[in-house]
């Protein structure tokens, strides 16, 4: 039995090759990608389930601060019954960045007992940044659990006020908000030191956009 674990750190301007993961019975995969400021990139990830009982987890973070164009595309196909997919992509767009998320889940006819989840949360920090998100579900079987959620918004001012009233400077409060917004995406990384290293890199990116 194979087990995929991939982490893509995108911090230099290059395009990722299309990642196509085919999962047989009982196989597990985990893909995490992190897009750091200053990089325009296309991220296409496709997953095909060909055997029952397989699981995939897709995690993504983006932090943009200039004129970046980031296009994220996920395509998860539940061709057989009893598989689980879970997607979580969170990101922050500042400057005049333009981010698109096209997420797709297809549950084929007969792929019963499928569980497919997808979340995409975006924070728009500046007036000239833009976020377009299209989370799509195509479902051809009835005994399934599928849901998706997408939000686009700004940092919560009540939270900022709470922190500031307790003596945390405004800028620091915003950093804390953004860290807590992005941190759950990294939970999938098992290697503790790798996780530590990437968390530090994310924090650095967040500080750089303020």
């Amino acid at each position: 039995m194979k087990e995929y674990r991939r982490i893509y750190v995108v911090d230099s301007p290059e395009s990722l090759p299309e990642d196509h993961i085919v999962l047989g019975a009982g196989e597990k995969a985990s893909v995490t990608f992190l897009v750091f400021p200053g990089v325009s990139v296309d991220i296409p990830v496709a997953v095909d389930f060909t055997g029952e009982g397989a699981e995939v987890s897709l995690r993504g973070i983006y932090v943009c601060k200039g004129g970046e164009k980031v296009n994220i595309r996920t395509d998860v196909r539940h061709n057989v019954p009893g598989c689980v997919s879970d997607q979580l992509v969170n990101g922050i767009a500042a400057g005049d960045a333009h981010v698109t998320f096209n997420g797709k889940i297809v549950v084929a006819h007969g792929a019963q007992k499928t569980q497919a989840y997808q979340s995409n949360h975006n924070v728009v920090l500046s007036a000239s940044a833009k976020v377009d998100t299209k989370p799509q579900l195509e479902i051809y079987a009835d005994d399934v659990k599928c849901s998706h959620g997408a939000t686009v918004g700004s940092l919560n001012e009540d939270e900022q006020f709470y922190m500031r009233s307790r003596g945390i400077p405004e800028a620091e409060a915003k950093v804390l908000q953004m860290i807590s917004f992005l941190a759950p995406v990294l939970d999938d990384i098992e290697d503790a030191s790798r996780k530590e290293e990437l968390s530090a890199k994310v924090e650095e990116a967040i500080r750089s956009i303020l």
């Binding site: 940044a129 195509e138 479902i139 659990k145 599928c146 686009v152």
Partner: protein, 482 residues
């Protein structure tokens, strides 16, 4: 109504198929089959239209000819031969009784439960504009409404008597070249309703249009225009049915709504066109463009739709939120059974500051049907403090149907908040078992559960419509379990 009586009604309904599927035998006037500039001139002449409207139609036709048929819907659309359709059909006027309604037509609407004579209806008074194929045959309570300055009349009459108003607002919300079917409608539209509520007037009764397709081989192209001036309010209802036929019939309507400052418009639809038979033969192709604009500050527009009919539904009632702090809602229940296909949803375009919108869509698919929600929420750079919440739930009944969600969220404002969530579920065996165990048979249990699931939307409908909609849900899902 006690429970027994209510159960009897539900029983009656579940034991019959599409009951509006009859044909009325009246003599009708047709224009020849096909579509060209001569046909458009003929329609315009038959309706005694002014030159500007003929020019408007011809311009639309020329644009339509250059447009491709849209294919982006999640629909398996049959080939439509636009030259094989009769674009105008009207019941012949009786020369002896030019002022009266043909008793056959009256019987038809009576049978459909549409009061075309003025009388007290179940939950109060409703003014009705009844449209039969390409013409309006009766509009009730016009005098009562006129006393308040409200204009409610067939579209053709509005063109003759309120030409300036029609000319000012026609195509101001849905431009001629907006899309393929809107352009087609602009070229050949027949009748529909025109409604004008003057400044500060609260419409004293619900207004309603009822559309009936009768003639075979025809299409219906109605056009509705609603204008609500500053501070006015209106509740508008729309219903429709058609005979059962093995061929597909085309229905391409355009509805435009203009809502001025602080005005409030509620637009409710119960769409019950013939859905085709259990094998997917025949049925109406319902390809409709509906759009409203909240022009002034604090304007409010609410769409509520219950879609149970049509072989194919392609419909996206939308709102342009232009006025600051204007708001809009979209509540929808779409039911598909057998081989029906629905691709429906909404567009909320936020332009003004502090605009708010809410979308609640409940899709129910059964049999071999496909049911899609497609929606756009767009926050423009000026929409500071704007907010949207969308919720799309799908319920699947049976393993051969499909439920799909295609939302599109575009935000270009850091102070706008958009939230979307969607879930998919089926009727759980536990729920069914619970009902069965208490003596409710499976079919009724499904009806009960579905009604509960759709309650949030049904409760938004005007009372009379809500009763009809609940019954319709039950009929539409007949035979989908077991």
């Amino acid at each position: 109504m006690d429970i027994q009586e209510e159960n009897k009604i539900i029983k009656d309904f579940t034991s019959q198929e599409y009951k509006e599927g009859f044909v009325t035998d009246v003599e009708q006037v047709f224009v020849p089959k096909g579509l060209n500039e001569d046909i458009i001139r003929t329609i315009s002449r038959l309706k005694e239209e002014p030159q500007w409207l003929l020019d408007f139609r011809l311009d639309a036709f020329r644009r339509w000819q250059k447009m491709p048929m849209p294919t982006w819907g999640h629909l398996d659309m049959p080939e439509i031969d636009f030259q094989d359709i009769i674009y105008y059909a009207a019941p012949k006027k009786d020369k002896d009784r030019p002022k009266e309604i043909d008793p056959e037509l009256e019987k038809t609407f009576e049978k459909l439960g549409i009061p075309i004579r003025e009388r007290e209806a179940l939950a109060g008074v409703v003014a009705v504009d009844a449209v039969f194929d390409s013409v309006s045959v009766a509009t009730t309570f016009r005098k009562t409404l006129a006393e308040k300055g409200i204009i409610f009349c067939p579209f053709s009459e509005a063109v003759r008597e309120h030409g300036d108003l029609v000319r000012k607002y026609l195509a101001s919300v849905v431009p001629v070249g907006d899309n393929f079917y809107a352009a087609l409608n602009s070229a050949v539209f027949s009748d529909g309703s025109f409604c004008y509520i003057p400044k500060g007037v609260k419409c004293p009764m619900d207004l309603s249009s009822y559309f009936r397709i009768n003639a075979s081989g025809t299409g219906q192209f109605e056009r509705t225009l609603i204008v609500a001036e500053e501070g006015s309010s209106l509740s508008y209802m729309e219903g429709c049915t058609a005979p059962m036929r093995d061929e597909n019939q085309l229905h391409a309507a355009v509805v435009e709504i203009v809502v001025e400052k602080d005005a409030d418009v509620r637009y409710s639809t119960v769409q019950n066109w013939y859905p085709g038979d259990a094998m997917g033969r025949g049925g109406i192709l319902n390809l409709v463009t509906k759009r409203g604009i909240c022009k002034g500050e604090g304007a409010h527009l609410s769409w509520t739709q219950v879609e149970t009919g049509s072989a194919i539904t392609w419909k996206y009632p939308s709102t342009i939120l232009k006025g600051d702090y204007s708001s809009s809602e979209f509540y929808s229940v779409a039911v598909t059974n057998n081989y029906q296909q629905a691709d429906t949803g909404t567009k909320m375009i936020h332009i003004g500051r502090g605009t708010r919108s809410r979308i609640v869509s409940k899709g129910i698919s059964a049999g071999h049907s496909q049911n899609s929600y497609r929606g756009l929420v767009k926050m423009l750079p000026g929409a500071t403090g704007a907010r949207n919440f969308s919720q799309c739930d799908s319920l699947l009944i049976g393993s051969d149907c499909g439920a799909h969600t295609f939302p599109d969220i575009q935000s270009a404002n850091p102070d706008a908040v958009v939230e979307h969530e969607a879930t998919t579920s089926k009727i759980s065996e536990d729920q069914l078992f619970y009902c069965n165990q208490r003596g409710i048979d499976p079919e009724d249990a499904v009806g009960l559960i579905v009604n509960g699931y759709a309650k949030e939307v049904l409760s938004r409908l005007p009372m009379e419509f809500a009763v009809e909609a609940q019954k319709l849900l039950q009929v539409s899902l007949e035979g989908s379990v077991g």
